[in-house]
Amino acid sequence: MNVLEIRNLTKKFGDFIAVDNINLSVAEGEIFGFLGANGAGKSTTINMIASLLRATRGEIELLGRNIAKHNKFAKMNIGIVPQDLAIYEDMTAYENVSFFAGLYGLRGSLLHERTEEALQFVGLGDKHRSFPRNFSGGMKRRLNIACAIAHRPKLIIMDEPTVGIDPQSRNYILNSVRKLNDMGCTIIYTSHYMEEVEEICTRIAIVDHGKIIADGTKEQLKSTITDTKDIWIGVKSAESLKVDSLRNVQGVTAVRMDEQILKINSKTEVNNLNDIIQKLIRDRVEIRSVEEQEPSLETVFLTLTGRNLRD
């Protein structure tokens, strides 16, 4: 059964088409990755699903009901974890979760029980009376999640829930996403961190210029790219590296540094590994490892959209 069904969805702001005739479905129990660079139409789509924006055309169904006609039903069954922290700094962690859960009609002992449960779930069970202003970035992010799940929604939309936090908190959040999914929640997940999406999402859609340009499992998406390979070169230091000169090597389509790994996209049919290594030696870059890989999701994204996810 599909939790979410989007048909011919379009949103225009004046002459600008932010979302262009999107068709999409999310099945129950999926962790659905929704990828797109800034301005691709991701947030506009999410805002329409959350009934924060009215569609210019098309329809959205949640659990089989049109959200325009059953607005309250839709809102009761959706939980939003916004990209920007949406919590009150002058209210305690408990008050924050309790207030937002109360907006869904919860009161009394049930409200208390759900608030406790949500705080425990995100690991803030011992921080009831603490104010978020004293929290670390990761704790605030977790509180942001608790506020969205206390009313037990069927569909949770997480918009970049791990932005700007330490690896430990990120792992905690990713585990929480999996746990929520195990508990029966369907999740729409957006992120700028491709490895996160690869790690947890069961299906992924790529949106660009308001249109869905690819949709499938990560394996299906990767199989669409047959003419590109990834070359990963571990280097000691990249200070002396002239990245632009590498782009001039025949067959190289993109070069980027990710910590101490030089990630190169290249055309499959061109055998250019020797040329690349010679360039690096000429630039006095100390090479530690060389791997030729299947195209990553990031390569898929770059090939399909022509830009990096973080652009």
């Binding site: 916004p82 922290l85 869904y104």
Partner: protein, 382 residues
């Protein structure tokens, strides 16, 4: 309704947890009342300061008249000359000036009193009271003059008898209420200024919610925009009511300001004005794109209009043009209502003032609703 109460509860808890809110909502209006007392409840208490210029020499009638004024309760008399008198009145050092010209005693004796001028810039009931007491006193002596028809000896005999204690006119207390009324009026001037600022502060919560994104989280729940705005207005009205009650309590029971009118009568009038303030604040929020812009608009709108409407200075000293402009400001109609209540008008008879204030509230709210309705992006969702 449950949702509205839920939102009101949260906002009130959040607001009153912040010490700055207590200062803004209650501290400033009380400070305004205190300031009014310092500025308008002058050190001389309620004594009326009367300056007398005697150009009629040592005539007994003249001397007795001056003595009569001096014996009036809560009146302080100073002898002075014409130039100093005018200057002292202009400077506010004297409330009333009495000029007794040469020939005053003779005019009274002849039964045709004249040669006396009473000067005041207050024009209040107080001057009328002194004038009336003097007229009564002089009228009695004039009657003796008329009866004796120029018979000097008969006049002196009867006048001497009149001066005996058994015939003496009782000196009544002339109570100068203008000072306490000025304090009340000006305190209300400050109060309504602060009410307007707190209204914008409260409605500004909508913008702050937009800026910290809690706004989007609220609207992704089943709460409607109407419920949200109604809750905001309700909190605004509750805070205003508390502001009014606390300020009036302090005026009456702590500062002991005699407003001349029952304090209960002021509550509905001030609350009606509060609705105009809420309407105006919503209008500002509807047009402002951010809290910073709302703050700037608030300063640009509230401070000058309060100045023009007489919230900081008495309207009496304003030029006619400014007075005419102030007719277009809700603050003017509130202060005018207060003034008229103090002059003895009944609240029911001031329906025009009340209707105008209600019209301001309705007009501001309608403009805000119109503007809110035309916003078409998530950041301007309400």
């Amino acid at each position: 309704m449950k949702d509205i109460i839920w939102l009101i509860r949260k906002t009130l808890i959040s607001k009153f947890r912040n010490k700055r809110s207590w200062f803004l909502y209650f501290g400033l209006p009380i400070a305004g009342a205190l300031l009014s007392m310092l500025l308008y409840g002058n050190a001389s208490g309620t004594d009326l300061r009367v300056g007398i210029v005697n150009e009629d020499g040592n005539q007994a009638i003249t001397a007795d008249t001056i003595q009569f004024v001096g014996e009036l309760k809560q009146v302080r008399v100073n002898a002075t000359d014409k130039t100093s008198l005018n200057q002292a009145i202009e400077d506010g050092k004297l409330d009333i000036g009495i000029i007794i010209d040469k020939g005053f005693a003779d005019s009274v004796r002849s039964g045709n009193p004249g040669k006396m001028t009473i000067v005041s810039i207050k024009g209040a009931q107080v001057t009328a009271a002194v004038k009336s007491m003097l007229q009564s006193y002089i009228g009695n002596i004039t009657a003796i003059g008329k009866e004796t028809s120029g018979d000097q000896e008969a006049f002196d005999r009867i006048y001497e008898g009149y001066r005996q204690p058994s015939f003496k006119l009782t000196a009544d207390t002339v109570k100068d209420t203008s000072s306490t009324k000025s304090v009340t009026y000006q305190t209300f001037g400050y109060l309504i200024t602060f009410m307007m600022f707190s209204a914008v502060n409260m409605s500004g919560l909508i913008l702050r919610e937009k800026e910290n994104r809690t706004f989007l989280r609220i609207f992704s729940s089943p709460i409607s925009a109407r419920t949200y705005v109604l809750a905001n207005v309700a909190v605004n009205v509750i805070i205003m009511l508390l502001q009014i009650v606390v300020t009036l309590f302090f005026m009456r029971n702590v500062f002991h300001i005699d407003s001349g009118v029952s304090y209960i009568e002021f509550v509905p009038v001030l609350l009606l004005f509060g609705l105009s303030s809420v309407g105006l604040s919503l209008m500002i929020v509807a047009f402002a794109q951010s809290g910073a812009i709302a703050g700037a608009m608030q300063n640009l709108i509230i401070t000058p209009t309060c100045l023009l409407a007489g919230c900081f200075f008495p309207m009496d000293i304003m030029p006619d043009t400014v007075r005419r402009i102030s007719n277009f400001l809700p603050q003017h109609w509130l202060l005018d209502t207060v003034n008229k209540l103090q002059q003895g008008n009944k609240l029911g008879s001031l329906y025009l003032n009340l209707a105008i204030m209600a019209a301001f509230a309705a007009a501001f709210s309608l403009i805000a609703i119109y503007r809110f309705g035309r916003n078409n992006d998530t950041r301007m969702f309400v």
